[in-house]
Subunit: 316 residues, 4 copies
């Protein structure tokens, strides 16, 4: 038994003493996932269904494209020590009478976990286990994850539904630690013309918190309104292609249960294999009251990475 | 006059002694661009026209999505010293009874100029001048370009047309330095059902060269078949939203005129403000003979950068 | 018990079933180290003894400085995916009539584990344990090690002794997998005028393998002559300030015992707290037959790092 | 004439209209340097003189080593957007019964221009010209400088002299923009036992400003006491091996002449080829009143770089 296998064996030991309140379901209840043993795509599998694509296409009526991603650069918020270092190289002047110069830049960043970003399934764990019970100790290497890498994620082109909870509450921005409930989501959908979610939707939640992005970054990252455990589990039941929001973790933070650290991340990514989309720019969508649209996004196919910075759009 | 202004003044001096054959047109003929003085979007302006979006949406009939981007990772070709270093961080175990671990990775790369990639207008120059006669010496900084950064580029959702020159010639792959001519493009379009290009199209050229990508990288980057000067100028006249190909520079390299270094890059990017899309993955599109489709691509909005690595798709 | 403590507890479990041949001594035999519980300096403690400094100073008689470090740059060998990316920034022209330009470069590298390099004690482990039984699971963070970081290492100025095993054997370079024995070291010292090692010496072994550095990098890193287990343990008994060589791991590789991976690294760094100095440039020293000298080296004080790239010198 | 030569020709144009006060001397007065045409070592040439080494060795009497470099890590000051990103890799567990784990870290930083740092001659320019009139436009590449790279600098082992100007003035720290004069230097030397500088000395100036390092970084980098133009020129006349200080630019900043940007950098590095050593840690040296010592420092031999982060020491 080599060191690696040993480590895996040890980490595979049962995590004991579940406290009351929400807990990560035991492996037997969550693995294999509903998409099958060995599946690495989770909710991304919805994009294999051409009906989802066709439904989105039918929503395009005016030809307007609304950008849902923030610019990556000066003024953006960062979590902890994350960085975005963009360094243009010296202009290279090629030989030839056409005096052609070339510019390019070196980027050093946690691309995939900065800016408007899409979470893959290697991003989060419960102990040593990730989505579909892939083990970090077995698939994590110094160069990337041999399973669950974000290069497995599909291009998304599906019906997008924005649920405007801020508008429901009649505020520009939900409170700093407001927990969005199931009732909030249901009432907001009802208010938006009795909308119904469908399997394969990109479900986008407007909290208004994005107004702080680039304006008051310390407050933006300190806490956030977002979905709680119950709303997260309700959303999972709707069988979406992904869940996004205009805040940094989609879910509320800190969690009202002080002994839980971002449980929504485990509910979506680890337990159910539902992708997340964070730090969305939803101001224009909200201002125009666009609740239904074709949602289009193409994560970068970074081999073995935990996520991808993205530039999604709504098309209507 | 400070040093920066001095440098600019000196570089602005006329470049003398044009040789015979193609030469970069003088500034007076290319600036301001047809999109107006100060314009930073060039062919990206086509995406402001909702008719282009609607035309693309109407092409979606089966709901199939075909990926046009390569995976970023092991085996990919690089030009010169470019790198893609992906380094997962140590798993961070958060406090809380839910034993939540977090993974993320630091990426160090010329993101924007590696893999399937979209060229912005800060990428190329003629002497000190870029598209619309913006000057490198004035807008280039250590952290990015204050003008022409790729964050100005729109999300693309427009009609895509693949011109299969390899199929026209009855080969899997054009020759190592084959110059695609205007006649080639016209005949290939005729062969594909008398197709016509329209303003705002994403024009994609299939050379077959992409078969070498990741298979024989040294040969892939050493030379390439592609459009010559005449075909590039013909393509510009079609007024596309962008021009792409399954090779590394879209154009032929080396150029048959040995004293020209990638003149197509200047024709498209510097002189006419037409975006390029390189290193496309076109094997599936070609095999399925999909010549017309909705083309969708969202460049990352990297502030002040010369380009963006992308993951475009064809939807039909 | 949070996840981190859990991991530590699990990893702390006894590693069972020691095979015959060399094995890592049990914790009880190696912790605390001879330098005391909690010590982070190991053999670096020798530099607290001013007699070592004075002895070195007395060896300086001609005023000649001989460099023992390779240039960091083009042509250097790397292990696995390590890199050295040096990227000068665009010249920044300051304001002011003195037209002062500034250059600097971004370096991306495993600085500390490339080129001529000094190994700190966070570099190597036995399971979860490092020198003095500090645990990776407790002191390793995403930003560095909270214990045993190379910033704890002293500046070295002590007697240097080169043991020329290649010369003893009458060869330019020892064989590709030659294991240096205790007898080799003793005979080489005898041949060099009956030299004796003293506690606190910087002991440098000349294998000749460095002739391949930058000349035949694939062969250089594939294997190497160097000290075996017995010679490593003998060297430790001499109580040196560090042990260095003109090869990449000081020790022989692969080890003759095929089930051991660089056991010398554990003998020196983990079990006994003796620093290593690798990839030395010893050609000049060997050609001039300089066996005794003042050894001077100042590791960079990189907080929490596993090692430091260095530029040591011999002064005589 | 290709683009590169053109650029060089243009930049070589005379810089007109010298104002009153200090100005960069014309090329004819400074090139070739006193070390000869084509010389890349400047004041580093002093280390070729064995008498300098021997003089230093004779100053070692007690065997005490005093570190003159700051720890590189949390809390250190940075100039502008410079960074020091240290990222330990995941522990790699090797195969073998000895369960050997390896740690290493990726460092992304302007190594050479952060922390206690040694300035090479590619660091500074007057227009396009550097030391000995090497031209940035000719020797600057995307991967480093083909001339004047810091790998040319020698290891330093020479007499060190600390001139304690703060002590002369009876203060812990000189004022925020205090210009050190020639008289200050002369009086401080007189006060320290009528010390005399000798060619080849490492001349270190104690301003006390280093007390702010890591304590009040914004103030530390905003301005600094240091030598003015006259004192810089006086120091150059003493023919030192280098000039260092416990502040970030050695010289006063901002310069009293508001139209000059760090003219001392040009006087030392560009005009006279005298190396600088910045951000020194001098508290211990000053507290112990150690004015004369063996100064030892080994810049990293980074090919083509502008400088090197270092960890110098005083030995006495």
């Amino acid at each position: 038994m080599n060191g690696s296998a040993l480590l895996a064996a040890l980490l595979f030991a049962p995590l004991a003493a579940y406290a009351q309140g929400w807990n990560v379901p035991p492996e037997s209840q969550r693995c294999p996932s509903k998409w099958g043993a060995g599946d690495e795509r989770g909710s991304g599998n919805h994009m294999k269904n051409p009906q989802n694509v066709l439904r989105a296409a039918r929503l395009i009526k005016s030809g307007e494209i609304i950008e849902l991603g923030h610019v990556l650069g000066p003024g953006m918020p960062f979590f902890g020590p994350r960085i975005l270092n963009i360094q243009p190289k010296r202009t290279f002047m090629n030989t030839g009478r056409n005096t052609r110069g070339s510019n390019e830049e070196m980027v050093t960043s946690e691309i995939g976990q900065v800016g408007t970003q899409f979470d893959g399934f290697a991003h989060q764990t419960h102990g040593d286990l990730m989505y579909n019970c892939f083990k970090v100790s077995e698939v994590g290497t110094r160069n990337g994850f041999t399973k669950l890498g974000v290069h497995n994620a599909p291009a998304f082109f599906t019906r997008g539904v924005m649920i405007d909870v801020a508008a429901l509450k009649g505020v520009e921005m939900l409170g700093d630690t407001y927990e969005i409930t199931v009732a909030d989501l249901e009432q907001a959908l009802a208010r938006q013309g009795n909308m119904r979610l469908q399997p394969g939707d990109a479900v986008i939640i407007h909290t208004g918190w994005g107004k702080l992005y680039g304006k008051d970054n310390p407050r933006y990252v300190k806490s956030t309104p977002g979905v709680g455990v119950a709303a997260a589990e309700w959303l999972v039941k709707q069988d979406p292609a992904l869940v996004g929001a205009d805040n940094w973790p989609v879910e509320v933070s800190p969690n009202p249960d002080k002994d839980l650290s971002l449980p929504g991340h485990q509910i979506f990514l680890v337990v159910n294999g539902v992708h997340l989309l964070e730090n969305m720019k939803l101001d224009e969508l909200a201002a125009k009251r666009v609740y239904e649209f074709a949602f289009s996004m193409q994560p970068l196919k970074i081999f073995g990475a935990s996520g991808s910075t993205v530039a999604p759009v709504a098309i209507r």
